[in-house]
Amino acid sequence: MSLTEELVQLTPRQVKKLESVANQWKNVGLSVGKTDRAACEAAMQESYRAAGLAPPRLVIWLKSPRAGATAARLLKSDLDWPHQLNDMQRAVWDQVWQQSLPQIQSYLGANRWAEIRKQTRQEAEQKILNKYGHYVEKRVKELFAEKIGIWLWRYIRKIYGPSTLEEIRINLEEKTKAGLFPSLSRSALDQIYQQLVVPVTQQTWGAVAEPLRMMMTINNGTLVGRQTWECGFGTHDAGWVSHYDFLRTIGIKGIASLDGIINLTRVCGWWWPYRDLCILTERPVALKRDNRGRLHNEKGMVVRYSDNWGFYAWHGVIVPEDVIMLAEPITLERIAEERNVEVRRVLIERFGLDNYIKSGRLIKIHQDKCGTLWRMDVAGDEPIMVVQVINSTAEPDGIFKEYFLRVPPSMVRAKQAVAWTFGLTEDEYVPLVET
């Protein structure tokens, strides 16, 4: 960068814009509902072109990132045969070949495709003839379908080509970053990072996409092994994309090559780009969070896709289905039997600390004007220490809301515990005003 080049500070108007852009992208990252497939495909093609690549000839649509990751893994698998797939993988592969078939026909041309069919049909007839001594139409048809299936399995995996994520996503961003003009000052970049990229990323990537990734790994069949992450994360890429969208809106030049990926992020689920094939997936149809933005749903899945894949969580802790869809009420016995510490903590929370106090399982350690400190011993885990405090300002109905805050097990006095929640010592914690 030359010394004469202008370094731009953000104007108050642009700072205000920062907030609205952050909200806009947070909403993108948390968006649910029907996916506009045509808009996704157009944006995907634009992304390929921006990277200097021809758009892929095959486009496969799947309904969840789990299905997308499975398909991506199947493309890479070294199996000769789709026979060894488990039911979930088979369902995904059926989608892949059914959608590929008409596209491959136009890819190859009608004549070439007719030739392949004819040849395959003849092979099937010959084989049946050899086996039974005569021609059995039903068997021929079955064998033909099977052979075409194997042919597709091999063909698609032969032609889909290497991943183009590096070109489309990484190289393009690097190039764009290097060519921005006028350049922004360090403090402007800092501010964009702190007030836009960090909050959007935390809420969309950290709170949603990361748990999704974990669940996809856990839920997938063992056959295809670990997931492949050569993908764009669609709406969950809101964090880094918001940065460029903001620069674009304040008139910084040189971002046009990211238009495609910005548009794709607005509308699409996770996507896996290859040289001649692109797997696109839908956005979720449901996404539930608590008031701190953590995945949470007391009545069903926290994230659900239209193929009904999804999972359950309680205030950000991923839990088995039965912990949420309680077939029967939680008992102290059920809690004691739970071996997973995190899940047990959820069960304890669901049971309710009030109920624990009633059951006599909470031991009152200390009480002062700041609140009450309680301890509960948990077999095989550190004791749960909570400080029960009362809001200083009354609710509209005149009631003072009570709440519990978890504090470290080393706490011995209520005031010390409250001070800890603000990173202070008991001596330091003397509010002049408290509301």
């Binding site: 700072v15 403090s187 007030q195 008031n291 933005g293 200083s392 805050l405 470290p408 002049l432 509301t435």
Partner: protein, 108 residues
């Protein structure tokens, strides 16, 4: 007993304001349009905030600092307003203990 000088603190719900001596060198000014927002409630949209006419925010080594002019009021939809004396302050967000993990912030 010898009495140590305590730093003045003010608390509004889950946000605590602690007096500091001076603004560290290299603190970065954070621009806000109408209100300096200390913390948002995620669902309610309620916020702990000060008017930009009376307060400026800086960041320094991960801390948020306030420079407060006479007449600054810390407001929140669900809490009584606090009249903050002029001075320099650090903003502390209430946290909760999470076993085997760094403390998480409490947002009301």
């Amino acid at each position: 007993m010898f009495k140590t000088a305590k730093r003045k603190i003010y608390r509004q719900g889950d946000v605590l304001i602690q007096e500091i001596d001076k603004l560290p060198e290299g603190a970065n000014l954070v621009e806000w349009e109408d209100r300096v927002i200390l913390a948002y409630g995620e669902v309610t949209g309620h916020a702990h905030a000060l008017s930009t006419s009376y307060a400026r925010m800086y960041t320094w080594e991960g801390d948020r600092l306030l420079e407060v002019q006479p007449g600054a009021k810390l407001v929140h939809e669900e809490h009584a307003t606090i009249l903050l004396p002029p001075g320099l302050y650090k903003v502390i967000q209430q946290r909760e203990y999470v076993p085997e993990a760094p403390p998480r912030d409490v947002l009301d």
